[in-house]
Subunit: 217 residues, 2 copies
Amino acid sequence: MTNHALLDSCPLYQGLSPQDKAYALSYFDAKAKQYEKGEFLHQVSFPLQRFGLVLSGTVQVYMDDIDGHHIIMNHVEPGDLFGEAYAFLGTDAPIYIRAVTEAEILWMSTARIKAPLSPAGPLDQELSNRYVACLASRTLTMNQRVQILSRNTLRMKLITFLSQYAAEKGDTFTIPFDRASMATYLGADRSALSRELSRMQAEGILTYHRNRFQILK
Amino acid sequence: MTNHALLDSCPLYQGLSPQDKAYALSYFDAKAKQYEKGEFLHQVSFPLQRFGLVLSGTVQVYMDDIDGHHIIMNHVEPGDLFGEAYAFLGTDAPIYIRAVTEAEILWMSTARIKAPLSPAGPLDQELSNRYVACLASRTLTMNQRVQILSRNTLRMKLITFLSQYAAEKGDTFTIPFDRASMATYLGADRSALSRELSRMQAEGILTYHRNRFQILK
DNA sequence: AAAAGTCCGTTGCTTTTGCAACGGACTTTT
DNA sequence: AAAAGTCCGTTGCAAAAGCAACGGACTTTT
């Protein structure tokens, strides 16, 4: 059975009554599926038929470059969506999607968005709008990512990255990355990242332990 | 009068009959406006009410970082859209939009997407789908950008950047950037970029003159 | 409890990059 | 035609960052 409590943390379902949630689940033709740690949810160069909502666990969307480096496109935690754009376009998706931990995914279809029932039910337009809003928000998220990656020193990337968390969560927060993933996410080397974090801590800019950070000034 | 020929190069209007184009223009409540070189189309922290289609000229969407560097979010040429996501969400847009050259912009509204007429005309759903497809494509474009920026050496950024053009246009192509903008787009220093390009030319990887490139291997 | 595995900080070394500054080719203005 | 402006390559130098390797703390497995 699908976890209705978690659905509330996803903008697609947020605040809907139980009946409306049930309607929404059928609107998106939602199907849950379980994955083991390390399992691939999608392989390069297949079209992505559906987009996913992470119900539990963590998922990463990434590409590989020639040197064998991963490029993290999207790091997905419970309540977050992935693949909305690919699913709508139906084009080949040159990405890997992999379960970082054991994970449960709710797979959904865009068919009703593209071809609404006629006459459309009262909720249909609302759900369509929510989906489009998610798609638009994705653009904003990626803008933030570009903002980080465009900085030309690692320190500035870090400051931008951490500021974005601080803006949302306050001075103290936990990030969903280990060091290696964080480095990949920032487009940098892990040791260079550790070194820079050390320096910034020594300079009194911040404090941290593992993936928990506190910004001091 | 709006240039109907150019509309055909925009996925929103492509292939529509003249009557359908006229309908589409009213569907999006399209209004054209002229801008001088250097003029701002939008300033930081105002909500963006409409999204734009560049009819002529060039427009850049960018942010500024603390050091006064520009971060190019979107470089927009005739036939391209900008601001689709902000316009739909109606949130504050922390960006500058500026005419790089004299430009004519077709400003459009998302009102009909959010609240379709009922009953909807036969074209309405098609136009809505086209808009959403544009939004989804934007995500893919930004993915490509992230792919470039995630690379950890300038050379790899360059190879990724140029490969993306080569994949689309073949071995020889012209890019829409001068060196300074190209460097900003790659998140790098202009002189470092020039240096790396020189090296790659010396190594026989490519040939270039100004913004025209030929990939040799 | 030992062994294996994971995560992370550290460091030496080399390469890359940013920064600042200059000059040449070319275009536009006056 | 001179002057001003723009664009771009070049270079010296200092700082930054990648790479590789090691070791310690901690967790999980056997």
